[in-house]
């Protein structure tokens, strides 16, 4: 199905080990993957399955113990900090906890100004910068005039999460890693966040990668689903294949344990 497309991010035998000898933990165990451009990808697993470790490796925040990650067909080179910064122009992330993602001492203006500077807009005139920031804020339904001169902690969780998306709007990365983007948010605001992300995807043509434990969300948004168990991808395929007809016992158990509304929820299996 992906014959004509080229993978934008792929990995061969990516492994991450923590500790030595008897204390060695293999967090990610030799995973292979090809994430294609324009697809929506979900990586689903329980807590402790290595999802976040994989995300950090994809972002280049930690190095893989073994294996290679390829970015747009070429082996990724992020040896120096300067090269990492270059890499981060094309890959960005939204994290689970918006409260801890901002520097408490920086005002919101500077959060957004940093993004403009990263895109090489540091020398733009002041009016142009304000125009860009206003545009980004209005994209996520925030008012820039109300945010200016405020600190991140003065915003609510939902507003902070939306500001995160405004950053992405300014940065226009090719890949967006969303690590549990909605787990701290109410069920009804969840839809708003997802809608905005999807709109952003259409607008700037990025590839979103969702990392989540919420199977309902993965099923609803994604084209391709990867199921992760103890550092390995146990099953992958289209959302309908994996979630409606799971083959592996782990996937079956995971899906059985989610409360359903149309089907009977079988409580006897635990």
């Amino acid at each position: 199905m992906n014959a004509g497309k080229k993978p934008c991010l792929s990995g061969r035998g990516v492994t991450k080990e923590f500790g030595f000898g008897r204390n060695k933990t293999v967090a990610v165990d030799g995973v292979d993957f090809d994430f294609y451009e324009g697809e929506i990808i979900s990586i689903v697993g329980e807590s402790g399955s290595g999802k976040t470790t994989l995300a950090k490796m994809l972002l280049g925040l930690i190095n893989a113990t073994e294996g290679d990650i390829f970015f747009q067909g070429k082996k990724r080179n992020i040896g120096s900090h300067r090269k990492k910064k270059e890499y981060w122009k094309s890959i960005q992330a939204i994290f689970q906890d918006p409260f801890s993602s901002y520097n408490t001492f920086n005002k919101i203006d500077s959060v957004l100004l940093d993004c403009i500077r990263m895109r090489g807009g540091g020398r733009l005139p002041r009016e142009k910068k304000i125009e860009l920031m206003t545009e980004a804020c209005s994209f996520v339904n925030l008012k820039f005039e109300e945010l200016t001169n405020k600190y991140p902690f003065e915003l609510s969780g939902g507003q902070q999460q939306r500001l995160m998306i405004a950053r992405i709007f300014l940065l226009k990365p090719q890949i967006l890693l969303a690590d549990e983007p909605t787990s701290m948010i109410d069920a009804c605001s969840r839809t708003t966040i997802l809608d905005t992300l999807m709109q952003l995807r259409d607008e700037i043509g990025m590839t979103p990668i969702f990392i989540t434990h919420d199977i309902g969300l993965a099923y609803y948004v994604s084209d391709t689903v990867y199921i992760m168990e103890r550092g390995k991808f146990v099953e992958s395929g289209t959302a309908d294949q994996v979630i409606l007809n799971p083959k592996k016992p782990y996937t079956q158990r995971l899906i059985n344990d989610v409360p359903k509304i149309y089907e009977e929820w079988d409580l006897s299996t635990v």
């Binding site: 329980e46 807590s47 339904n141 609510s156 939902g158 109410d186 069920a187 009804c188 605001s189 969840r190 839809t191 708003t192 997802l194 809608d195 434990h213 919420d214 199977i215 309902g216 969300l217 993965a218 099923y219 609803y220 959302a239 309908d240 979630i243 409606l244 158990r253 995971l254 899906i255 344990d257 989610v258 409360p259 359903k260 509304i261 149309y262 089907e263 929820w265 409580l267 635990v270």
Partner: protein, 339 residues
């Protein structure tokens, strides 16, 4: 109609802030829980779900104050009773309450059996340790928990096991009604299922007569409770049976909530998700008309004039909107078509 275990009439409670402002977090709430039934309360954060749970116990401490209304449990009106009296006579025996993240509140230096001893000794001062141990052991057997847990420290238990232990401790005196506030929100899906199975088990074995379950996870609520009540800005906006509420919501706010359910089941990917724009009103000075008016897509000038009463919709349902239910239900069907 079974016997009402808990009946609440027009209960209003308020918070008084340090600047002397009144915040009515529970505003004229009436509800009734019958024997053998469970009631679910849904709503977004800050809508007063947890405050309602606190108010239902009749155990008020500042900044929460009782204003008006009645709480009748087993024929006894506990509203306005002295907090100390409530603690001695009602809590544990009549009403058991599991607050949010109760499992993190266990003292790490005490064994599980010590918590149970504390509970029983407060109500039956002459019970011996042997009696308490036997009682706890038999309860744990009924609930399918291993008896070794009794001699363990909280840190030795996993999250799911801790939560189930907390529930077991809270029902040791076989209360009439159990109020569970987000009992499974910090757990992974498998432990969550075990907790739910245990709550069902409690109801079936008659250890508790009825239950109030508070969460914002609607698929869970649908599977656990018989009736669902949706709260918005301190008021009840809709009451209905679980099935009707999930599949045919009437009030625009409940429609928004039900339309945002994401479950991994076939056919659901083609349905459109509904989003509710905006934020809830500030309860310091709530709008005089409908509290949902700012975010409602059917808003009319009349909505903002006077407060909207809860209207009867037949079949034990009620909703708080001036529009006819047929119109609202039809609009919802249309909106949730193919995406």
């Amino acid at each position: 109609m079974g016997n009402a275990v808990l009946e609440v009439n027009e209960l209003t409670t308020k918070y008084i802030t340090r600047f002397g402002e009144n915040i009515y977090a529970v505003d004229h709430v009436s509800l009734k829980v019958e024997e053998g039934k469970s009631l679910g309360i849904a709503g977004e954060s800050g809508c007063g779900k947890s405050t309602l749970a606190l108010s239902l116990m009749g155990y008020y401490f500042p900044p929460l104050y009782y204003t008006s209304g009645q709480i009748i449990i087993d024929g006894q009106n506990i509203s306005g009773m002295d907090p100390d009296e409530v603690r001695k006579a009602i809590l544990g025996k009549e009403i058991a309450y599991i607050p949010q993240s109760a499992m993190n509140a266990l003292n790490p230096t005490q064994r599980i059996i010590n918590f149970i001893e504390d509970v029983i000794e407060a109500h039956k001062p002459y019970a011996t340790k042997k009696e308490i141990y036997d009682q706890a052991k038999s309860l744990f057997e009924v609930l399918g928990l291993p008896a070794e847990v009794l001699n363990k420290y909280p840190v030795e238990l996993s999250g799911g096991m801790k939560q189930r232990t907390v529930i077991a401790i809270s029902v040791i005196l076989s209360p009439q009604i159990l109020i569970a506030d987000e009992p499974s929100s910090a757990l992974d899906v498998t432990s969550q299922k075990m907790v739910i199975k245990m709550l069902r088990n409690l109801m079936d074995s008659g250890l508790i007569k009825s239950m109030i379950f508070i969460t914002h996870e609607l698929p869970l609520l649908y599977n656990v409770t018989d009736d669902i009540m949706v709260m918005y800005a301190g008021q009840i906006v809709e009451k209905a049976g679980a099935h009707e509420m999930v599949f045919t919501p009437i009030h625009p706010y409940s429609q928004g909530l039900m339309g945002s359910i994401m479950v991994p089941e076939s056919g659901l990917r083609d349905k459109k998700l509904t989003a509710i724009p905006g934020v809830p009103p500030n309860l310091k000075n709530p709008p005089s008309g409908c509290r949902f008016a700012e975010r409602c897509k059917y808003v009319m000038p009349e909505c903002r004039v006077t407060s909207i009463p809860l209207r009867d919709a037949g079949g034990g349902r009620a909703y708080r909107c001036i529009l006819p239910k047929e119109f609202l239900m039809e609009a919802y069907e249309r909106e949730r078509g193919e995406r």
